[in-house]
C-alpha cells in the first residue's frame, strides 16, 4: 500500500498548486488539512463558509475559542487581518467569483466536470447538502480531492455520474492518491502521476476518458 499519495501527501500536493495571495475555501474533511501544508513564504487567504475570511493554523490544544470554528465545526484560529461576515455576505463572496479555489471531497466526477459529493442514492434519510452546491457554482477553480476509487475499488472518475449531482461542468482539477487530473473538453488530462502509479494503474481504475499527454512519458521514464 505504499503506492500513490497518502492523505498528507495529497494535501501537500494541493497546497503546492495554490498560488500566493489566492482566496481559498476548504471543504469539510480532508480538504481542511491543506491549511497545514502551505509552502513557506506563501500567503493564502483561507475562507470558511460560516463567515471567516482569514483562517490561520490549528489552535494550540486548550486554547480553542468556541466561537471560531470552520465549516466542519472544528476549532480553528484567525490570522491578524481576518474578517468576519454573516452567512449571506459569506456566500456573496462565494457566488460572485471571489474564491480563487474551492477544494472539496468527491464521491464521483464525470469527464464533463460534473461533481457528485453530497448524497449516495438509496441511503436512508434526507441527506445534507451544506454549502457544496454554492461553492462549485461560484469558485473560479474547483478542486476535488478524493481517493481514486471507492472502498470496493470501483472507479470514481466516470463517464457520467450516477449519484445525485452537486454541480454541472464545474470541476477544474481532481487530485487523487493516483495523481492530478485536469478536467477539460470532456476528458481528464493526466497532469501528474503519484510515485509508483503507472499509466496502467490509472487506466484500470478509471472509467472516464483519459488523455495522458506528457504524463505518459513522465510515468514511463
Amino acid at each position: 500500500m505504499s503506492k500513490g499519495w497518502s492523505d498528507a501527501d495529497l494535501a501537500a500536493r494541493v497546497a503546492e498548486t495554490i498560488p500566493n495571495g489566492a482566496c481559498v475555501n476548504l471543504g469539510i474533511g480532508l480538504p481542511t488539512t491543506i491549511v497545514r501544508y502551505v509552502p513557506a513564504g506563501r500567503e493564502i487567504i483561507f475562507h470558511s463558509e460560516n463567515g471567516i475570511i482569514g483562517m490561520g493554523p490549528d489552535p494550540v490544544p486548550g486554547k480553542e475559542d468556541p466561537d471560531v470554528v470552520n465549516a466542519g465545526k472544528k476549532p480553528v484560529t484567525l490570522i491578524a487581518g481576518a474578517a468576519i461576515v454573516h452567512q449571506a455576505d459569506s456566500f456573496s463572496l462565494i457566488r460572485s467569483g471571489r474564491l480563487d479555489y474551492s477544494v472539496l471531497g468527491g464521491l464521483q466526477v464525470s469527464e464533463q466536470g460534473d461533481l457528485a459529493n453530497w448524497k449516495v442514492p438509496g441511503t436512508k434519510g434526507v441527506g445534507g447538502v451544506g454549502g457544496a452546491m454554492d461553492l462549485v457554482a461560484g469558485a473560479r477553480n474547483v478542486f476535488v480531492m478524493m481517493r481514486h476509487t471507492d472502498k470496493n475499488g470501483a472507479p470514481k472518475l466516470l463517464k457520467r455520474c450516477t449519484f445525485p449531482l452537486t454541480g454541472v461542468a464545474c470541476v477544474t482539477t481532481v487530485f487523487t492518491d493516483y495523481g492530478v487530473f485536469d478536467c477539460q473538453n470532456g476528458r481528464f488530462i493526466v497532469r501528474e502521476l503519484a510515485p509508483g502509479i503507472s499509466v496502467e494503474d490509472v487506466e484500470r481504475a478509471t472509467e472516464a476518458s483519459l488523455d495522458f499527454g506528457q504524463a505518459r512519458k513522465v510515468a514511463r521514464s
Binding site: 470558511s48 463558509e49 460560516n50 463567515g51 471567516i52 475559542d65 468556541p66 466561537d67 471560531v68 470554528v69 465545526k73 484567525l78 468576519i84 461576515v85 454573516h86 452567512q87 449571506a88 459569506s90 456566500f91 462565494i94 457566488r95 436512508k124 434519510g125 434526507v126 441527506g127 445534507g128 447538502v129 451544506g130 454549502g131 457544496a132 452546491m133 454554492d134 457554482a137 461560484g138 445525485p164 449531482l165 452537486t166 454541480g167 454541472v168
Partner: protein
Amino acid sequence: MLNKRVDALSRALSVVKSGDTILVGGFGDIGVPLQLVHALAELDVRDLTLVSNNAGTGEIGLSRLFKNRQVSRVIASFPTQAGADHFKAAYERGEVQVELVPQGTLAERLRAGGSGVAAFFTPTAYGTELANGKEVRMIDGRGYVYERAIVGDVALVKARLADRYGNLRYRLASRNFNPLMAMAARHTIAEVTQIVDAGVIDPDDVHTPGVFVDQVVECGA
C-alpha cells in the same frame, strides 16, 4: 423611554403560536440561542416550521424541539449532521417534512425575506435534483434557479451585546446566520450575553440595527 429588554425568556416567547415559522440562528451549535430554544421546548406549541442551517445535536438545542415532537417541517441545508439523532428519529417516524436548501441559497432567501425582495435567480443547484420542479432561466448564457424569499413569524437569535434599542453585536463566527434570521422574521427575540447602555456600541460597530429586533433577554455567556 424605549426599552426592548424583557426579563423572562418565557415572557419573550409568549408571542409564539402553534403553526408558526420559527427562524433560529446558528451554524451547528455555534451561535444558537440555546436558552431561548430550551425555553421554547418547555412551551405547549407544536406544528412548528423550523428554519435553521442544522437541526441540533445530542440532547441540547434544536434537538429538544424534535424530541418533544413540536416540529412538523424543517427548512435547512444540513439537518443530518453527526449527532442529530432526535431530528433523524423524528424524520424516520414520518413526523417531519424536510425542505433541503443549499446553504448559500438558504442565507440569500432569508436576506431577501428581510429585504422585501420577493424572489431571485441564483446559479446554485442549477442542473441538480435540488432544482427539480423549480423555474429556471438562462441569463447571459448561464442557468439560474428561481428562489423565493423566506419570512418567518418569530426569529430567535444569539448575540454578545445589545442595548435598549435592540442594537446587536455578535462575537466572531457565532455571527453566522443570526443577522439574517433577525431580518427575516416579523418578530425577533435576541438572547444576549450582556445588555449595555445606549451609545456603548458605536454606530459604526452595530451588526444588527435595533429596528430588526423586538425583544432582548440578557442571559449571560
